[in-house]
């Protein structure tokens, strides 16, 4: 029988177990920074001992027990200090007693609750968005500082500092280790979902040929989303977000051609879509809708993605439904980008003239001034309407705005085609 290389096996154990260990420890020591240090200490002990002793039967329990012993040692040391600093000591003593009691009562359900608390603390509004992302990937995703740095294309010390500062901020703000209740829950939950979707998009927008860590972020985000859906099964928007991510991820392998060139949704080979992810995405969407969350922003975006996923060919796409969904979405969260997407759907459903009318209304939108997709979408409508000279000018304008070389080439080709078509025979 062969066993895996101990170090990579330990890495694997860590990635799978670390979140639960840190969550359990945080409940005991009531400080997420301290909990992570204790867990890291246990990991160091594993790296020292396992190569010799072999990996224990239940490595997660071993790491947890080791970390708890360190916690007890620390409380004892602090208790000695107590004699010298009595006022501080009393608090520590109560902490120690409750810690010892906590050791015995933890069971599987508590672990789930602890994990959920850890999710909420990592995405706490007292932290900046970058700090939330870094801390979530570190504490819940089990990623190393180096991996996070590579994924977000920032220097490692920057990420390390973000994490250190985030942990200090949480300690100083006395952020409680709890699942928010009542009116607070909605806002806190949307902060969690935002962090997960941000991680997903960071991976999804990366193109082929990049460092493999970036696309892997999609998997990390999906895993976090799926865990959250199990921990908070009655929150419709959690399922909405999972549905959106599953369906988007299902197209990952069809989005780029052999040379890394982007392939637009309607031109993708649907046989390359991942049907297992589509099925999961549709099931998650159904769950969100059953829970009364059909009109949540994530569920709506998932419903739009689902229209594409359900269509066997591009021609079968239900554009009327997509246009209607964008209509609801644009009222719920008005944004020029959503409006532009709506224009595309309306054009597909009701003809280019109707789409152009919506796109033209965006012409004065300052946030879209340098956005190449606006002239590109307009050009497409104009071309379909036979207004070739205008279409050509818009394709050229779009080409001058895009930063992607392949896209520029494509747009200039289309401009050229307009010119050729306009030329009298």
């Amino acid at each position: 029988m062969t066993t895996a290389h101990p170090h990579s096996a330990i890495d694997a154990v860590w990635r799978i177990e670390s979140a639960r260990i840190i969550a359990g420890l945080t409940r005991i020591v009531r400080d997420v920074g301290l909990a992570e240090e204790l867990a890291q200490d246990a990991l160091v002990a594993a790296l020292e001992q396992w190569p010799e002793s072999g990996i224990p039967d239940n490595p997660g329990a071993w790491l947890m027990a080791t970390a708890k012993h360190r916690a007890i040692d620390m409380f004892r040391r602090n208790k000695l200090l107590e004699r010298k600093h009595e006022e501080l000591g009393r608090e520590l003593k109560t902490q120690q007693e409750s810690a010892v009691a906590d050791f015995d009562i933890a069971n599987d359900d508590d672990i789930g609750d602890d994990l959920l608390r850890l999710v909420f603390i990592s995405c706490h509004p007292v932290l900046s968005t970058e700090a939330r992302v870094a801390l979530t990937l570190r504490l819940l995703g089990g990623l190393t500082t180096e991996e996070i740095a590579r994924a977000f294309l920032v220097p490692e010390p920057t990420v390390a500092q973000r994490i250190v500062r985030a942990k200090r901020t949480l300690t100083e703000a006395h952020v409680p280790f709890e699942v928010p209740r009542g009116p607070e829950l909605a806002g806190r939950l949307s902060s969690v979902l935002e962090v997960i979707y941000l991680v997903f998009n960071e991976g999804y927008s990366a193109t082929a040929g990049d460092d493999w860590m970036r696309p892997a972020l999609c998997e990390d985000a999906l895993r976090l989303g799926r865990i959250l859906a199990e921990l908070a099964p009655n929150e419709p928007e959690v399922h909405g977000l999972v549905a959106l991510m599953e369906i988007q991820a299902s197209r990952a392998h069809a989005r780029t051609g052999p040379a890394g060139e982007p392939i637009l949704l309607l031109e993708q080979d649907r046989g390359r879509w991942d049907h297992m992810l589509i099925r999961r995405g549709l099931a998650a969407l159904e769950r969100a809708e059953e829970l009364g969350g059909a009109l949540g922003p994530y569920a709506l975006q998932a419903a739009i993605a689902a229209c594409h996923a359900r269509a066997g060919t591009a021609a079968e796409t239900d554009w009327k439904r997509i246009a209607a969904l964008y209509d609801v979405l644009s009222r719920l969260m008005p944004s020029p980008v959503v409006e532009l997407n709506r224009a595309v759907a309306v054009a597909m459903a009701f003809g280019p003239a109707a789409g152009l009318e919506l796109a033209d209304a965006l012409a004065s939108e300052p946030s879209l001034k340098a956005y190449h997709l606006l002239p590109s979408v307009r050009a497409d409508f104009l071309l379909k309407l036979g207004r070739l000279t205008e279409a050509r000018a818009e394709f050229e304008r779009a080409a001058s705005l895009t930063r992607n070389a392949r896209e520029r080439e494509l747009l200039l080709n289309r401009a050229g085609a307009c010119a050729a078509q306009a030329r009298p025979q």
């Binding site: 895996a4 096996a9 694997a12 892997a216 999906l222 799926r226 921990l231 992810l277 999961r280």
Partner: protein, 130 residues
């Protein structure tokens, strides 16, 4: 990377004592079992199978087509269940398989058996080893 973890049947599952026994207790254990797997966020799909005595083997050989009734003799070669799981590395998949088996033992004391861990053929399989 996507993996299929194939659980080989053991004597009990072949005898129909395990998941097919329609007692509330077993179903509750199955539910809890699936819930715990799902909580790890790595399981895409998974099912336990009925004993091979209720299964068939369909064989193509030359011009011949044969349908063979179960049970199949070598329990070790019979699939008892499967899971499709998403991991970052082979090491993680093996660790995941160990946990998967630990869970079997937790919910069905005395369970013993073997799993096969196989990477699903996908675009990643053609990428250079990380």
């Amino acid at each position: 990377m996507r993996f299929m973890v194939i659980i080989k049947a053991d004597k009990k599952s072949e005898a129909g004592i395990l998941p097919t026994q329609e007692t509330k207790k077993t179903f509750a254990a199955m539910g809890k079992f699936n819930e715990q797997l799902a909580k790890a966020g790595v399981m895409l799909a998974g099912e336990g199978l009925q004993p091979s005595s209720k299964g068939k083997r369909v064989r193509f050989s030359g011009q011949q087509r044969t349908v063979i009734d179960g049970p199949f003799s070598e329990a070790k070669e019979v699939v008892g269940g499967f899971a499709i799981l998403e991991f970052k590395s082979k090491e993680e998949a093996i660790e995941g398989a160990l946990q998967f088996m630990e869970l079997h033992r937790k919910f069905w004391p005395g369970w013993e058996g073997e799993t096969e861990v196989r990477q699903v053929l996908g675009p990643e399989a053609f990428a250079p080893e990380a």
